[in-house]
C-alpha cells in the first residue's frame, strides 16, 4: 500500500514541478530565482533516489536521466535544472566508485593511453549492487543541498574584498546575488550604485528600490545612458543566468553592451555567480541559445495598424564572450574566466554533458 502511494505522490510532485517550470519561463507565472529552482530540483532528485525502485547505480542513473530529460525539455532556458541533474549523476558515480573501492581519479581521466590500452573503458556499466549505496547517495545529496543554501551568503561575504569606499559601481537589471553582495558591503562602506533599468521589463527599478532602502546611494539610469555614464564608473558588478563552458555568459539582454562599454573604459567587469549556474553548454547553438518573449512590452497593441507590418523582437538573453569578463566570484572563491573549464570538469562527468 505505501509503495504505490509513494509512487503516485512522486509522480504528482514531478508533474507539479514540470508545470511550474513551463509557466515560470514565459514570464507570466511567479518568477522564481535560480537558487529556488536548484533547490527544488535537488530535493526532487533526492526524493526520486529515496522512493523510486532501483537496484544498481546504473538503474538509478537511468531513472535520473529520464526525469532530467523531461525537466529540461519543459524549460530549456532554465539551465540550473540540468546542472543539478548532472551534479547528482556525478554524485552517484562517485559513491559507486567509492563503494567499489577504486580511486576516483583513475576513472576520471580519459587519456589517449587509457583509451588504447583498456579498449572499452566505459564498460563500467554500474551494474553491481551495493546495499548502502542508497543511503550514501542521499547523504551526499543532502550535502549538496546545504551547499546550495549557503551560496548567496558565501558570495556576499566576499564583498568587502572587492569594494572600497567612495566607489561608483554599476549593475544592470535585478540579481539577488548582486543585491546581497552590495548590501553586505554597504553595511561597512559608503559607495554609490548606478542601476541600468534593463527595459522592457525594468527589473532594475526593483533592484534600485531594494538597495536604496538599505541606505545605499542609488541612481537609476536608462539603458541608453550606459555608455554615457561609464566613464565615471569604477567597477561593474553583474549577475547572470548561466555561466557557459567557455567562460562566457548568458545574461539578461543589455549585458553585452554593458560589457563592451566597460572594456572600452578599462573598467573591471565582475560576475557574481554561484557554482550551480555553471553549465557544460557551449554558445554555438544559435537557435537554442536565444529565448524570446511576447513583444507587447516593446511595441504595445495600442500602436494600431503598423503592428501588422512590423517585425518586433524581444530577446531575453545576451551572450557575453569571456574576453570581456575580468573575474568570476562564486561561492568557492574568485576565478578568472579561463579557469572555468577546470571547475566544470570537477563538477560534472564528461559523459553526462549530454543527458
Amino acid at each position: 500500500m505505501p509503495g504505490p502511494d509513494k509512487e503516485t505522490d512522486l509522480t504528482e510532485r514531478l508533474a507539479a514541478f514540470l508545470s511550474d517550470l513551463k509557466r515560470g519561463g514565459s514570464g507570466t507565472g511567479p518568477l522564481r530565482s535560480s537558487a529556488e529552482t536548484a533547490r527544488e530540483t535537488t530535493a526532487l532528485l533526492r526524493r526520486i533516489t529515496a522512493q523510486a525502485r532501483w537496484s544498481s547505480a546504473g538503474d538509478l542513473m537511468e531513472i535520473i536521466r529520464k526525469e532530467g530529460r523531461r525537466m529540461t525539455a519543459a524549460q530549456p532556458s532554465e539551465t540550473t535544472v540540468g546542472n543539478m541533474i548532472r551534479r547528482v549523476l556525478k554524485i552517484v558515480r562517485e559513491e559507486y566508485a567509492r563503494s567499489r573501492g577504486s580511486s576516483e581519479e583513475a576513472d576520471q581521466q580519459e587519456s589517449l593511453h587509457k583509451m588504447l590500452t583498456s579498449g572499452g573503458l566505459s564498460e563500467e556499466n554500474f551494474r553491481q549492487h551495493f546495499a548502502p549505496l542508497r543511503a550514501n547517495v542521499i547523504e551526499a545529496i543532502n550535502e549538496l543541498l546545504t551547499e546550495l543554501e549557503g551560496t548567496t551568503d558565501n558570495i556576499a561575504m566576499q564583498a568587502l574584498e572587492h569594494i572600497h569606499s567612495n566607489e561608483v559601481i554599476m549593475t544592470i537589471g535585478r540579481s539577488r546575488t548582486v543585491e546581497a553582495f552590495l548590501k553586505n558591503a554597504g553595511r561597512k562602506r559608503k559607495f554609490h550604485v548606478i542601476v541600468a533599468e534593463c527595459a522592457p521589463f525594468c527589473q532594475g527599478h526593483e533592484m534600485a528600490t531594494n538597495l536604496s532602502k538599505d541606505g545605499i546611494e542609488t541612481t537609476v539610469i536608462t539603458d541608453a545612458a550606459i555608455f554615457a555614464v561609464m566613464s565615471r564608473v569604477n567597477k561593474v558588478i553583474i549577475g547572470t543566468q548561466t555561466v557557459l563552458a567557455n567562460g562566457g555568459l548568458r545574461a539578461v539582454n543589455g549585458t553585452h553592451t554593458l560589457a563592451l562599454a566597460a572594456k572600452h573604459h578599462s573598467t573591471p567587469l565582475i560576475v557574481c555567480a554561484p557554482m550551480f549556474k555553471l553549465s557544460p553548454q557551449f554558445p554555438n547553438e544559435e537557435d537554442t541559445f536565444h529565448k524570446f518573449v511576447s513583444p507587447h512590452e516593446v511595441l504595445p497593441f495600442t500602436e494600431g495598424e503598423i503592428l501588422s507590418k512590423v517585425n518586433v523582437h524581444c530577446p531575453v538573453f545576451d551572450y557575453v564572450p569571456p574576453e570581456l569578463i575580468t573575474l568570476f566570484i562564486s561561492n568557492i572563491g574568485g576565478h578568472a574566466p579561463s579557469y572555468i573549464y577546470r571547475l566544470m570538469s570537477e563538477l560534472y562527468h564528461p559523459e553526462d554533458h549530454e543527458l
Binding site: 533599468e197 522592457p200 534600485a208 546611494e217 537609476v220 541608453a224 555614464v229 553592451t257
Partner: protein
C-alpha cells in the same frame, strides 16, 4: 594718495580676483544701469540692492573709494583693472551718497577711463577666460588666432549660487519668470538644471505678456512640453517665430532698428532658454539673425529693412536646412546598396528623409529601428517609414547586440558636431556606435553644416541636459516600483538627453559639403568663419 596706495596692495589682489570672476559681468550691467540713470531718475529699488551689495564689499571697497575721485588713468595700466572694476561697484552706492557732488562730466570721464582700461586689459590679458568683447566687435583678420572670448554658459553652472543670483536678477530685469529645479539631482550632475514637465514656465507669466511676444510664448511652451523636439524642428520653429516677431515689430522713435531689435530679442532668448536650453543649431541660427540685424544700414527704411530680414531668414531655412537635406540625401543614396539592412536609432528627420528618398529611387533595403525609453522617439520614425512602405523591424536598445549581426550599415543623426570631432546626439547613440564597432559594422553620421559648433567636449557630463526624472517611472505587472522615489532619501533618477560619441567610432560624416571624416569638422568651421 600715498597712504591709500600702501593699504591698497592686498586689497588690490583680492579685487583682481573678484574682477576676474565677476567684474566683467558687473561692468556690463553697470554700464546699462548708468545709461538708464543718465536718461531717467534712478529707481529706489536698485539703490537698496546696491547698498546691500556695497555693505558686503565695504571692507574691500572702502579703501578703493578714496582713489575714485580722481580718474584712474593716472595709475599704471596693470593696476588699473583692479581699482577700476572695484570702483565700479563702489561707485554705485557711492553715487547715491555723492550724487550731488558728481557731475555728468565726471561720470563720462569715468566711463571713458573704464573703456580704456578694458581695452588695455584685453591686450594684456589675452586668452583669459571670462573676457567680454564689450568694447566694439573685434573684427580680427582670419589669419590671427582668435582669443578665447567665450563665457561659460549659465546653464552648466547651476551649482554656483552667485551665477544663479545673477541669472535671477537678469530675468527679473527682463520680466521673465524663473523656473525652479525639481527633484533630487544626482551628484554628478548637480551643475545642470532639472525641470519638471508638470510645472510649465508660463505659470507666473501674466497673460497677455507685455514683454514677450505671444509667438515666442507659444514656442517656449512647445519646447518645454516636448511638442516640438528634434534639432531641425526646433530651429525651424524658432526661425518662423522670429519672422513673426519681425513682422510685428515697429521701431520706437529715436531708436535704430539694428540696435533696438537685437535688444528686443534678448529677453525672448532668455525666456526660450528657461523653457529648454538652446541647442547648438538654434544658437547658430540666432547668431546669424543677430548678425543680419546689426548689418542693416542705418539709413534703410523700416519696411525695407524688415522685408530684407524676412528674406534672409527664408534663405537661411531654405539653404541650410532644406537644400542641405537634399544634398545629403543625394550623397547618402550612393552608400545604400540593394539588399542592405540599415539600422537607425530614434527619430532623426534627416535620416528618415534619406531613407524615404532612397526608397523612392528604387533601392531595395530593409530598416531596423532601435528605440529607447523613456522618449520612445523610434515609434515616430517607425510610423513614417512604414507609411512609405519600407519593411521595418523594431527593437529596444538593450537588444541591439542580438540584432547587430544582421545589420550591414548604421545611419545616425546628430544634434551637433563638436570642434574636436565628437558627435553630440541623443543619448544612446554612442552605445550603438560602440556595439557596431565591435561587430565591424560601418557607422555613418548625417549632419548639416549649420549644426557644427565650436565647443569641445570629451564626456557627456559637463554639458548636457537633464530631462524630467518622472519619465522613468513605469508600471510593469501592475506594480510601479519607483512611484514614491522622492520619499526615499538615497534614490535618484537620471534622465539624460544627450551624449557624445568619440570620433573613432564613426566611419564617415555625410554633410552638405560632402563626405568628410569626423576629424575634419574644425576645418569646415574655419572655412565657414573665413567666408563670413
Amino acid at each position: 594718495m600715498a597712504d591709500s596706495g600702501v593699504t591698497d596692495g592686498p586689497e588690490k589682489k583680492e579685487d583682481i580676483e573678484r574682477a576676474k570672476n565677476e567684474g566683467k559681468e558687473l561692468s556690463k550691467e553697470e554700464k546699462q544701469r548708468l545709461r538708464k540713470e543718465k536718461k531717467q531718475q534712478k529707481k529706489s529699488k536698485e539703490k537698496k540692492d546696491e547698498k546691500e551689495k556695497e555693505k558686503e564689499k565695504k571692507s574691500g571697497g572702502s579703501t578703493a573709494t578714496a582713489p575714485q575721485a580722481q580718474p584712474s588713468t593716472q595709475k599704471a595700466p596693470p593696476a588699473v583693472p583692479a581699482p577700476v572694476s572695484n570702483s565700479v561697484p563702489a561707485s554705485e552706492p557711492a553715487i547715491p551718497a555723492d550724487k550731488p557732488t558728481k557731475s555728468k562730466a565726471e561720470l563720462k570721464a569715468e566711463r571713458r577711463a573704464r573703456q580704456e582700461a578694458e581695452r588695455a586689459t584685453k591686450q594684456t590679458k589675452k586668452g583669459e577666460p571670462g573676457q567680454q568683447s564689450a568694447t566694439g566687435k573685434p573684427k580680427a583678420p582670419p589669419s590671427e588666432l582668435q582669443p578665447v572670448v567665450k563665457r561659460l554658459p549659465e546653464h552648466v553652472q547651476v551649482d554656483d549660487p552667485d551665477v544663479l543670483k545673477k541669472l535671477a536678477k537678469k530675468l527679473e530685469r527682463q520680466q521673465i519668470p524663473l523656473r525652479s529645479d525639481y527633484g533630487y539631482k544626482v551628484s554628478l550632475f548637480s551643475h545642470l538644471h532639472q525641470y519638471s514637465r508638470k510645472a510649465p514656465p508660463t505659470q507666473q507669466l501674466s497673460i497677455p505678456s507685455t514683454v514677450i511676444h505671444p509667438a515666442i510664448v507659444r514656442l517656449g511652451l512647445q519646447y518645454s512640453q516636448g511638442i516640438v523636439a528634434g534639432s531641425n524642428a526646433r530651429s525651424v520653429a524658432l526661425l518662423h517665430a522670429f519672422k513673426q516677431v519681425i513682422r510685428d515689430y515697429t521701431t520706437p522713435p529715436n531708436e535704430e532698428l539694428s540696435r533696438d531689435l537685437v535688444n528686443k530679442l534678448k529677453p525672448y532668448i532668455s525666456f526660450l532658454n528657461q523653457c529648454r536650453p538652446l541647442s547648438a543649431s538654434m544658437g547658430n541660427a540666432i547668431k546669424y539673425i543677430k548678425k543680419e540685424i546689426s548689418n542693416i544700414p542705418s539709413q534703410c527704411k523700416e519696411e525695407e529693412a524688415k522685408s530684407k530680414l524676412l528674406n534672409n531668414i527664408e534663405w537661411y531655412i531654405n539653404e541650410k536646412i532644406i537644400l542641405a537635406a537634399k544634398a545629403i540625401a543625394v550623397s547618402s543614396i550612393e552608400k545604400i546598396s540593394d539588399g542592405d539592412v540599415i539600422l537607425v536609432y530614434g527619430c532623426s528627420s534627416l535620416v528618415n528623409h534619406i531613407l524615404c528618398e532612397a526608397f523612392d529611387k528604387q533601392r531595395k533595403f530593409r530598416v531596423i529601428v532601435v528605440d529607447s525609453r523613456p522618449r520612445l522617439e523610434g515609434r515616430e520614425a517607425l510610423r513614417r517609414l512604414v507609411q512609405k512602405g519600407i519593411s521595418c523591424t523594431y527593437v529596444l536598445i538593450s537588444a541591439v547586440s542580438y540584432i547587430l549581426p544582421e545589420v550591414s550599415k548604421v545611419f545616425l543623426g546628430a544634434h551637433a558636431l563638436l570642434a574636436n570631432g565628437y558627435v553630440m546626439s541623443r543619448v544612446g547613440t554612442s552605445q550603438i556606435a560602440l556595439v557596431a564597432k565591435a561587430f565591424n559594422v560601418p557607422v555613418l553620421v548625417c549632419c548639416e553644416t549649420y549644426k557644427f559648433c565650436e565647443r569641445v567636449q570629451t564626456d557627456s557630463f559637463v554639458s548636457n541636459e537633464l530631462d524630467d526624472p518622472d519619465d522613468l517611472i513605469v508600471t510593469r505587472k501592475g506594480k510601479t516600483q519607483l512611484a514614491s522615489w522622492q520619499q526615499v532619501a538615497s534614490l535618484g533618477l537620471l534622465n539624460l538627453v544627450y551624449d557624445v560619441t568619440p570620433p573613432d567610432f564613426v566611419d564617415l560624416v555625410i554633410t552638405d559639403l560632402g563626405m568628410i571624416p569626423c576629424t575634419s569638422v574644425p576645418v569646415v568651421l574655419r572655412v565657414k568663419n573665413v567666408d563670413q
